[in-house]
């Protein structure tokens, strides 16, 4: 699959995002097999592992989290690749550059790939004769760099080396930081929005890790079943325009970092059999919606729906997979005009699609909102001043400003300027939040920056 797509160049650094579950553990195992000397078709990239520890969002107690982290560490160290474990609390110390996509000039991929392969093979053959011991030394140094301690990414953490070392080996974050994460997730009212927010934050953390450590590609272990569920859930969440990017083989939204999903052709049953037969170790981590009732969130409902349907109609998952292959990212970004097309703050997708067609669902719902409200915007509300302010500010998209004035009544009495920076489905997530101030700083900072740029244009 990697060979067909010609995306991973030999010698490239690739980050494997391992959650500990069966499909990402299987991915790790297969990469190990592929890189080992006895493989017939060797893989030729340099892997690293990242694991995002999300216990704070699920409200787990500290002992549970340290135990899971210890299990995972033992698995990772046997693989021999450099690894890093990132905690969700770090979300509050991310820089706002995470949300920007950096594009380079488009190049002729095919020629470059062949040249790169040829060059690599040559240098490999020459080095293998002379520098066998050199290679081994090189590997060990990278190991000691990030292994086995938890490495922290934010720059000011390195500055206060003393306080951090007190935590090192045990649990590196104070209860206040954990509390901040818990408060953020408590401010999101529905489980659906919580899951979406968790996914977004997780992706940002992975992207940041990749950028800091110099990785240009990230591999995720999504299986076919998981992707089918994601596809259907995304349709239900209003992300139909970006289906191809969210679930395709490669996700080029973030410019310099490409997200790849090499496990997308294997159904979860196949992966389970593979793991059993080859003894692949995996660790179960309870997520946000473990043991939740069926209708607790849209994602959970979709999963149970597809699994049930698959029992009666065994071709469901593969049909959905095939359909997803035929989809194109609509209005995909091109590097040439990335100044013109704006992107969503949270998910980096193109904005403004809903305004392109005259008669669309988006316009229909805005009209409904408008008509159902009384005409006077101030009706003795507390937030009347912010209502007027945001109506004055949002001259850019008039329909959204009228929607804004209607909705900023009870809920969003702080920072209503986020509204115009989000795509349709991220708006739905934000609608469910009681207060936007609890969002991590980097998001709010980036929002302010984009707002200022908007006013200039």
């Amino acid at each position: 699959m990697l060979g067909k797509n010609r995306l991973v160049f030999p010698g490239e650094k690739v980050l494997l995002a391992v959650s500990g579950g069966p499909s990402s553990s299987s991915l790790l195992f297969q990469v190990q097999e592929g890189l080992s000397h006895k493989a017939s078709k060797k893989l030729r990239f340099v892997p690293g592992i990242v694991h995002i520890e999300e216990g704070a969002a699920c409200g787990k107690i500290q002992e549970e989290r340290t135990k899971i982290v210890a299990d995972l560490k033992s698995i990772f160290s046997t693989s021999g690749f450099p690894f890093v474990i990132v905690y969700l609390e770090e979300v509050f110390s991310l820089p706002s550059s995470v949300l920007q996509s950096i594009f380079s000039l488009p190049t002729e991929k095919d020629d470059l790939y062949k040249e790169a392969v040829a060059g690599f093979m040559q240098s490999y053959h020459t080095s293998v004769k002379k520098n066998l011991c050199h290679e081994k030394v090189a590997q060990e140094t990278t190991l000691t760099e990030d292994h086995p301690h938890v490495s922290l990414l934010s720059t000011h953490a390195h500055a206060n080396g003393t306080s951090i070392s007190a935590f090192r080996g045990d649990f590196p974050y104070s209860p206040e930081q954990t509390k901040a994460v818990e408060k953020l997730f408590a401010s999101v009212k529905t489980l659906t929005a919580k899951e979406e927010m968790l996914q977004t934050l997780r992706k940002h953390l992975i992207l940041h890790t990749a950028r800091i450590k110099g990785y240009s590609k990230v591999m995720m272990g999504d299986s076919c079943t998981r992707l089918a569920v994601k596809l259907l859930a995304n349709i239900c969440l209003g992300r139909g325009a970006f289906l191809a990017m969210d679930t395709g083989f490669s996700d080029p939204r973030h410019g310099d970092i490409t997200i790849i999903r090499p496990m997308r052709e294997y159904s979860s049953k196949e992966i389970a059999f593979y793991n059993k037969l080859f003894g692949v170790p995996s660790v179960f981590t309870a997520g946000l919606n473990t043991k939740a009732p069926e209708k607790a969130s849209i994602q959970h409902l979709t999963e149970s729906f597809i699994v049930k349907l698959q029992a009666d109609f065994p071709s469901t998952v593969s049909t959905i997979y095939r359909t997803s292959e035929k989809l194109n990212p609509r209005y995909s970004q091109t590097p040439a005009d990335d100044k013109g097309t704006e992107t969503c703050l949270l998910c980096s997708c193109a904005l403004g699609i809903e305004l392109r067609d005259e008669a669309s669902a988006f316009r229909a719902i805005s009209i409904s909102e408008e008509l159902s409200q009384s005409k006077k915007p101030e009706g003795g509300q507390v937030s009347s001043s912010t209502t007027e302010e945001c109506c004055a500010e949002n001259k850019v998209e008039t329909l959204e400003s009228s929607g804004c004035s209607c909705q900023s009544r009870e809920r969003r009495n702080t920072t209503p300027d986020l509204w115009s920076l989000l795509c349709y489905s991220c708006k739905l997530v934000v609608k469910d939040m009681t207060s936007l101030d609890l969002l991590p700083e980097y998001i709010l900072e980036e929002a302010n920056r984009r707002r200022r740029r908007q006013v200039v244009y």
Partner: protein
């Protein structure tokens, strides 16, 4: 303290809108509902002045509300349209004959002309006889294909310029989900369009596309409209039922998800390399079709020969044989015989 209507803030609120959650009084709700349909019609430029429009009327809540709202808007905003009611009789005893009575009453109430076409006169088969041959699993295919043709033929007889049907937001969302689950790319692109049709066929539109089913029921209830409200007796085993129950669950989690699904469906785009069916005319009856024989002819052929599964599934190679009316070989015949249910 009674809850006041969100819009006029004078009267007491009678209901809570499923679409947005606002509380509205009766009169405001009627006004808002009609305004939204008016806006859908205007923004999609569905009709032109002086056109004759056929309203697909089954006697159920959607078509009754559609007829009522079209009549109201035609007068209020002076669209200048001639409205006609068009009804199809599938021959399902206990269901369709009762609903047809409702349509006849509607005709008297709204003073619109009415035309009824039946499967019996067009094809020589009623749904009851079809189900006896086909079984309970694939009968919705027959009914749907035949009904579409029947509607078109009735419209041609009356010489209408456009047909409008009472498909509501829930229907469109279900269709998007169903087509996605079945992998039907060609239909996925077309099903969210508010107005469909091409040269040679009469265009059809769905003015109620953005109206929730719950709101339609509320409208019909509060306006005390006369409609028929039983489910088709053959429908429980249809594939659409799965999509429908899923959609209903979605709506209970998040009420805006119906519109979200429609929004996603509208913005799906397909890669250019994907092969799309080309449109031509049926060799036998002249109706539009993407294959040599239109689906209705294939299905009829199967029914008449006693091979009910002929139209179900994909059998392109047999189209030629059917065209030349050659008898099928033994093995081919075995494939199409009805499996016991």
């Amino acid at each position: 303290m009674p809850v006041l209507c969100n819009r006029c803030e004078i009267k007491k609120a009678h209901l809570k809108r499923p679409k947005t959650g606002h509380s509205l009084c009766k009169e405001c709700f009627f006004w808002v509902f009609e305004e939204e349909v008016h806006h859908s019609i205007l923004s999609a430029k569905l009709f032109n002045r002086g056109e004759t429009v056929g309203i697909g009327a089954s006697g159920g809540k959607d078509s009754t509300v559609l007829a009522h709202v079209m009549k109201v808007l035609n007068e209020r905003y002076d669209y200048g349209l001639n409205l006609i009611l068009l009804s199809v009789d599938e021959g399902i005893t206990g269901y369709r004959d009762d609903s047809l009575e409702t349509v006849k009453r509607n005709q008297k109430q709204y003073e619109l002309p009415l035309k009824i076409v039946s499967y019996e006169e067009l094809y020589g088969w009623t749904m009851d006889t079809i189900v006896k041959q086909v079984g309970l699993k694939n009968n919705c295919t027959f009914c749907g294909v035949f009904r579409r043709q029947a509607l078109d033929r009735g419209a041609m007889m009356l010489e209408v310029d456009k047909i409008c049907t009472g498909h509501n937001a829930d229907d469109v969302a279900e269709t998007v989900l169903m087509n996605f689950l079945r992998g039907d790319i060609a239909r996925l692109r077309r099903c969210t369009a508010i107005s469909t049709g091409s040269e040679g066929a009469i265009p059809r539109c769905k003015p109620l596309k953005y109206a929730y089913e719950k709101e339609i029921v509320l409208y019909a209830y509060f306006k005390k409209l006369d409609y028929f409200s039983t489910e088709c007796i053959y429908s429980p085993n249809a594939y659409r039922g799965h999509a429908r129950s899923f959609l209903k669950d979605l709506e209970s989690i998040r009420p805006s998800s119906i519109i979200d699904v429609i929004h996603s469906g509208e913005n799906l785009s397909v890669k250019e390399e994907v092969r799309m069916p080309i449109q031509s005319n049926c060799a036998r009856c002249g109706y539009i079709s993407s294959q040599k024989l239109c689906k209705a002819c294939v299905l009829l052929e199967g029914l008449n020969r006693g091979l009910p599964k002929l139209g179900i599934g994909k059998h392109h190679k047999l189209q030629d044989k059917l065209l030349k009316s050659q008898p099928l070989t033994e093995e081919e015949e075995k494939k199409f015989k009805r499996i016991s249910f």
